[in-house]
Symmetry: C2
Subunit: 333 residues, 2 copies
């Protein structure tokens, strides 16, 4: 497999059960079967699972009205759990950003609660990072990942175990055979440079869902990260929309301040006849022509089953050796 998470499974051998708190800050849970499967799966992994009282609340498309979801977030922070895990993404955190008690979240994190999620959750992660600098994890959600009908993905699960046990030291993946702009230029180069070997040390890893990131530009909820490593993913966004979002980050001066930009998985979009050869690789090539930063692709993170967990707001090392890429952050605990 192109991905590795170290020390898989060590967590379940520990004597005290790890405590997972499940809550719903975004869209209403409609798929109750996945929700239940997810909880059973976590319990089978010998985690103690606590479900927030409003985890299945519903108001319009939201998991309860704004007040309900804010209260759920703050209960997750007060839970003392090892991990606060969202049921799902969707939409809803944007509206809550002005009402979140970021200091309380940061305090919970400093006491050992790890906040994990993706997609809509990116808004929470960015706002928290901007307001407090606290570290969260880009990673799975309960329903779609642990509750997947086909079973939880092994790599996702191993990476999650690593997080819970504090054993994780990084993640590796294999870069696509053709470097980003080689697709356009026909050469095995990366912005005029060979993939070759390079290391970027002590750079802040940040990012997540691209649509959520761009929706925060110009607001107080996007952290000003300099010299960082930005990772991005999205679902159901046509490449021209991905390009438009990247253009916003570019024209806002954000990309010029990054040392590397890593494409995760962009899934579930439809190319159309009008594209006439324009595709995601065209966007990657265009981006590489616009920035000095290293542009990498293939990171196993996004709206796909096989995803690693990534520490958002952590200083990491990016190491590339030929087609092997590694994000390394050492022990967290």
């Amino acid at each position: 497999m192109p991905v590795k998470c170290d020390n898989r499974g060590n967590g379940i051998l520990e004597s005290v059960k790890k405590h997972i708190y499940i809550y719903s800050p975004s869209s209403a849970v409609r798929d109750k079967a996945s929700f239940k499967r997810g909880i059973k799966r976590l319990e089978a992994l010998d985690y103690e699972v606590e479900v927030d009282e409003a985890a299945l609340a519903a108001h319009q498309r939201f998991a309860g009205d704004d007040e309900t979801r804010l209260a759920a977030i703050h209960r997750a922070a007060a839970s003392g759990a090892d991990v606060a895990l969202t049921t799902r993404g969707g939409y809803g955190l944007t509206r809550l950003l002005p009402g979140i008690n970021y200091k309380a979240i940061a305090k919970a994190i400093s006491k050992g609660t790890q906040f994990v999620g993706l997609s809509d959750f990116t808004a929470f992660q960015m706002a928290l990072l901007a307001k407090t600098g606290a570290l969260t994890w880009a990673g799975p959600a309960l329903g779609e990942d642990f509750g997947a009908e086909a079973g939880a993905d092994d790599i996702m699960q191993a990476c999650f175990d690593d997080l819970v046990t504090g054993q994780g030291e990084g993640s590796g993946w294999q870069l696509p055979r053709h470097a980003p702009d080689s697709i356009a230029n026909g050469a095995e180069t990366n912005g005029g440079r060979k993939h070759g070997e390079y290391t970027i040390k002590d750079a802040m890893l940040w990012g997540g869902n691209l649509a959520m990131l761009t929706s925060l530009v110009g607001t107080p909820y996007l952290p000003a990260v300099k010299g960082g490593i930005l990772f991005i993913e999205d679902v159901g966004e046509h490449p021209y929309r991905v390009e438009r979002m990247l253009a916003q980050l570019l024209q806002a001066g954000i990309l010029a301040q990054q040392k590397a930009i890593i494409f995760g998985q962009f899934s579930n979009y439809q190319l159309v006849p009008h594209d006439k050869g324009y595709k995601l690789a065209s966007v990657v090539a265009w981006l590489q022509s616009q920035v000095k930063a290293r542009v990498l692709t293939g990171l196993p993170f996004g709206h796909v089953a096989t995803k690693v967990l990534l520490p958002v707001g952590q200083h990491v090392t990016l190491a590339v050796e030929g087609r092997d890429a590694f994000l390394l952050w050492g022990h967290q605990h």
Copy 2:
């Protein structure tokens, strides 16, 4: 009809033919039939139509590569035409923003060339307004409007005539029977206020496509308009995405600086069972709860046949008398 444009048709009585320059700054023209019908329609209205040499160029999904489209924009500015009209929107101007000679466009406008368009064209209009303060027009495109298979819309055409002849003094429309938040609250009020009668004088009118507006937040291409009247429209965007975009404008502090926010037409989106009663009216009501500005709806502008022309960057008067709303700007020439 709820819309009025004054002095319709006076333009075609003038002795010297007005000169329309057609060019393609955004997506490639695929619908050649609409393109041809549009030109014939303008010629039948006794306009002199000049077609840019690259109007039908194509590169991937774009109307030619970036250099080709930039050159087309600058030829439109140098054309000396009365109106520079885009063939269509789509996507493509975002990439060009750093390369446009805004001073040359502003100079052309000062000499009498009116730039007209919508959708992707909003990026051009905003950037030009931000860089030079020059006035452009939110209005039709060649293909979808003048080239519509069902024939050009009468009101659109009357408003266009008004622009070309310099006779336009404003546009009026009828507000929906239920004011925005009455839909949610069951009362015929508007943010706690009756529609009643009010006038907002000497406020800058600006706006256009909401997705394009939000894609410029944080970049040098969004004008900083204070005390303005912001109008918005979009196509194919679910209400939750409309809300997320408005939340960005809100959280970036832009909406707090406006005196009024006017919803044009939001078309061609699909509600889903998951919405459970969440709809565009929910977004309007939410917005009204977040801002002090007047929030109006029903403006006949957007991705619909019946559209008025609106002077972007012009100081206007908004007058509301019961259900009648008027945007007034006096003579332009």
